[in-house]
């Protein structure tokens, strides 16, 4: 039977898709890798020269990159943890609570994900302004507010929280789908055995939604390490360079016409994302459980 299927769908059927993928993805990626080892810049668009690992040396000697790398990891770690914790909590609430399980409530949780980042930027710039509504609310409770987006000590944290608010609903949907796939028998059996809610969470829910966790973690890690628009729109890397991340540095490099260095930065980021994601996938694959 399998052999017949192979005959019906020969492998060269994938060729058109592969060609498109090759031209629009593989080729630019490979050329990007090549340019990372050249002095390609706005003054030598067609006359670039091979410079070996010079661009990478420059990157790792640049003090601003160290800060950008730190900020990128900070953003990735904080948002990965919070998006998943909040997303899972919302999913658990929505699946257990009749008031929250309605389509409208899920829609409301998911709504921020529909909004354009520019709109969110304008909205939160106003909310987090020193004389904005958040500080006004805090002052009602006698709490001294602050300049959330322009105080170097809290600006990165503020950007992280805005991102969590924006995407927690998306992660909730994936967790909800994973939760729905758990057979009700398991819960009934656990109840009969006298297992409490947290025991059910630990021994049934979490092991059986590992695939959902993997997907959510991978999405969150990739988006966290690739962070750009959130920072660009909310703080533009400032105050000073306090919220610069790798992608805004890449953008800056391209803006300065240092395209070769910019591509090298990009390559570093891509390798980092690949390594971390492969590590996470391998780790979580081992944890996947199937009680069937």
């Amino acid at each position: 039977m399998l052999k017949n299927k192979k005959k019906i769908y020969p492998l060269y059927f994938v060729l058109p898709a592969l060609i498109i993928y090759f031209i629009f993805f593989i080729l630019p990626s490979l050329s990007g890798m090549f340019y990372a080892f050249t002095d390609w810049n706005s003054r030598s668009i067609h006359t670039y020269q091979f410079v070996g690992i010079e661009n990478f040396k420059k990157i790792f000697s640049d003090p601003n990159l160290k800060l950008a790398l730190w900020n990128t990891f900070f953003f990735a770690v904080v948002t990965v943890v919070l998006k998943n914790v909040v997303g899972l909590a919302l999913a658990l609430l929505a699946s257990n609570n009749s008031m929250l399980s309605g389509g409208y409530m899920r829609g409301i949780f998911y709504l921020p994900n529909f909004l354009n980042m520019v709109i969110i930027g304008v909205m939160f710039t106003a909310i987090l302004y020193p004389t904005g509504p958040l500080n006004a609310l805090l002052s009602v409770f006698g709490i001294q507010g602050m300049d959330w987006l322009n105080n170097r000590k809290v600006a990165m944290g503020s950007v992280c929280l805005v991102e969590v608010w924006r995407t927690a609903g998306f992660h909730m949907i994936i967790y909800l789908a994973a939760l729905k796939s758990i057979p009700a028998d398991y819960f009934e059996a656990a109840k009969v055995d006298g297992a409490g809610y947290f025991q059910r969470l630990r021994h049934i829910i979490l092991p059986l939604i590992t695939q959902g966790i993997t997907i959510n973690l991978i999405f969150a890690i990739i988006n966290g390490l690739k962070v750009f628009d959130q920072v660009y729109i909310l703080t533009n890397g400032g105050p000073g360079n306090a919220t610069q991340v790798v992608s805004t540095m890449i953008y800056k490099m391209f803006g300065n016409g240092l395209w070769g260095v910019g591509t090298a930065y990009n390559l570093v980021l891509t390798v980092l994302i690949l390594l971390i994601c492969i590590g996470v996938i391998v780790l979580l694959k081992r944890k996947e459980v199937d009680y069937n």
Binding site: L15, I19, F22, I23, T47, G255
Partner: protein, 443 residues
């Protein structure tokens, strides 16, 4: 069999891809060798006058903040007076301006006309623009001293669109008169004035540090009072480092001191140029460090507010002046070059230039202009512009250098994370990196 076919197809595609790359690299050699032909060829296509009844659409790119109401009115008037011509304005957000222009030039998707500063023109390469010679009908009418700062190696690549403009201290005259405050001429007097306004609950100096380009006006306006022009030439040639000039550190430190003493609005890190205009227009703030262009913006919000301009109160009574690097340039590969030239000539007419320059609060650029200057501008003209009691602002002396890093470091200092000394140290490194990348001699 299919594997072989597939492998062969992939090999062909990869080879084709590599050749595409090689082909691109070959292009400039042909260009360089045949530059005369390249420039001559489009001339034939440039007969774009729409006598045939065909419509000519001229693409005109400029930064968003330059797309003022008076520019909209002028382009509309041009279209009305010249049937068959249409101006397609591409107003680019200011924070994307430099990147976008560089990218458009790199991918050869340039508009017909651009409002560009000399500094950016040098970055993208002046050879991308049509050279302006005496053949242009407006050329002989332009004031020579206004053409000179725009020239590159003795050649002009655009029609002057900005002249000498001052940067300094904008102040609300009514507030100063009502509170009997003397216009300050140095930092000690500035602090005295600030104390008076602070006591009255008026923001003494409005600071809008969210927009770093407004933060840096202090440096570009104050540094020329204490550092001679030759020093900047030495910095640009690598003879001197920025940290070798102690005066810079003091200028930067004084800027921070103004905020530390509480003489600015408390939300200075979140405040923007827009909020500054509103604060000055509504009389919430008494002073603002900016360029003379800001007066028009403030008076647009409140036409009755009497804003004047004084020398930046740092150390000496020397007005910092920008040497007007702005010009309207035509891209060499424009298919509508003749029509673009017609537009520039139309713009250069005194009645149109008067509107344009009055909107910017600037001085005439053409000999036949007879502009009536408002009181504040006349004051500056009589007190400084015509007496020569001026110095070139720092930014105009650093042509071709991207100063964004320097401005970011200044902003960083205002957050308290680095000192004025560290600002100069960090800028020294960034400046040298940039100079090396640009192949500047001495680096």
């Amino acid at each position: 069999m299919w594997k072989k076919t597939f492998a062969a197809a992939l090999a062909v595609m990869m080879a084709a891809g590599m050749m595409t790359g090689c082909g691109k690299a070959q292009a400039p050699a042909e260009n360089e060798a045949g530059s005369a032909e390249v420039t001559a060829a489009p001339q034939e296509e440039k007969e774009a006058a729409p006598e045939s009844g065909e419509e000519v659409t001229l693409s005109f790119m400029l930064p968003q903040t330059h797309y003022k109401d008076f520019v909209k009115e002028l382009t509309a008037q041009f279209e009305e007076e010249n049937p068959g011509y249409k101006i397609d304005v591409q107003a680019i957000p200011d924070n994307q301006w430099i990147d976008l222009v560089k990218t458009k030039v790199a991918v050869e998707e340039t508009p017909d006309i651009i409002r560009i500063d000399k500094s950016l023109m040098l970055e993208v390469g002046e050879d991308n623009f049509l050279e302006m010679t005496e053949e242009q009908p407006w050329y002989s009418r332009a004031i020579e001293s206004q053409m000179e700062p725009k020239m590159i190696d003795g050649k002009l690549y655009g029609m002057p669109a900005s002249g000498d403009t001052a940067v300094g201290l904008l102040y609300n005259k009514k507030l100063f008169d009502e509170n009997n405050v003397k216009v300050p001429s140095n930092t000690a007097e500035l602090y005295e004035a600030c104390e008076v306004f602070k006591e009255k609950g008026i923001t003494p100096v409005y600071a809008s540090d969210k927009d770093t380009w407004t933060t840096q006006v202090w440096f570009t306006g104050a540094a020329p009072q204490v550092v001679p022009e030759e020093t900047f030439a030495k910095l640009m040639s690598g003879e001197l480092k920025w940290t070798d000039v102690p005066e810079f550190e003091d200028v930067i430190a004084k800027m921070g001191e103004l905020r530390e003493k509480g003489y600015t609005n408390a939300d200075f890190m979140a405040a923007t140029y827009d909020s500054a205009q509103a604060a000055m227009a509504n009389g919430e703030a008494a002073m603002y460090v900016s360029g003379q262009f800001a007066i028009g913006d403030i008076q647009k919000i409140n036409p009755d507010v009497d804003i004047r301009m004084a020398v930046l109160p740092y150390e000496k009574d020397i007005l910092a002046v920008s040497k007007g690097p702005g010009q309207f340039s035509i891209f060499k590969n424009s298919k509508n070059a003749k029509a673009a030239e017609k537009f520039l000539d139309w713009m250069s007419q005194p009645e149109h230039m008067d509107i344009f320059l009055a909107g910017w609060g600037e001085y005439p650029l053409f000999k036949d202009q007879k502009m009536e200057l408002p009181a504040w501008q006349q004051e500056l003209n009589d007190g400084y512009m015509t007496t020569g009691n001026t110095a070139v602002e720092t930014n105009s002396l650093l042509t071709g250098i991207d100063l964004n890093d320097f401005w970011s470091y200044q902003q960083e200092m205002l957050t308290g994370s680095i000192t004025a000394k560290e600002v100069m140290e960090k800028w020294d490194v960034s400046f040298a990196d940039q100079a090396k990348a640009k192949g500047m001699e001495g680096f």
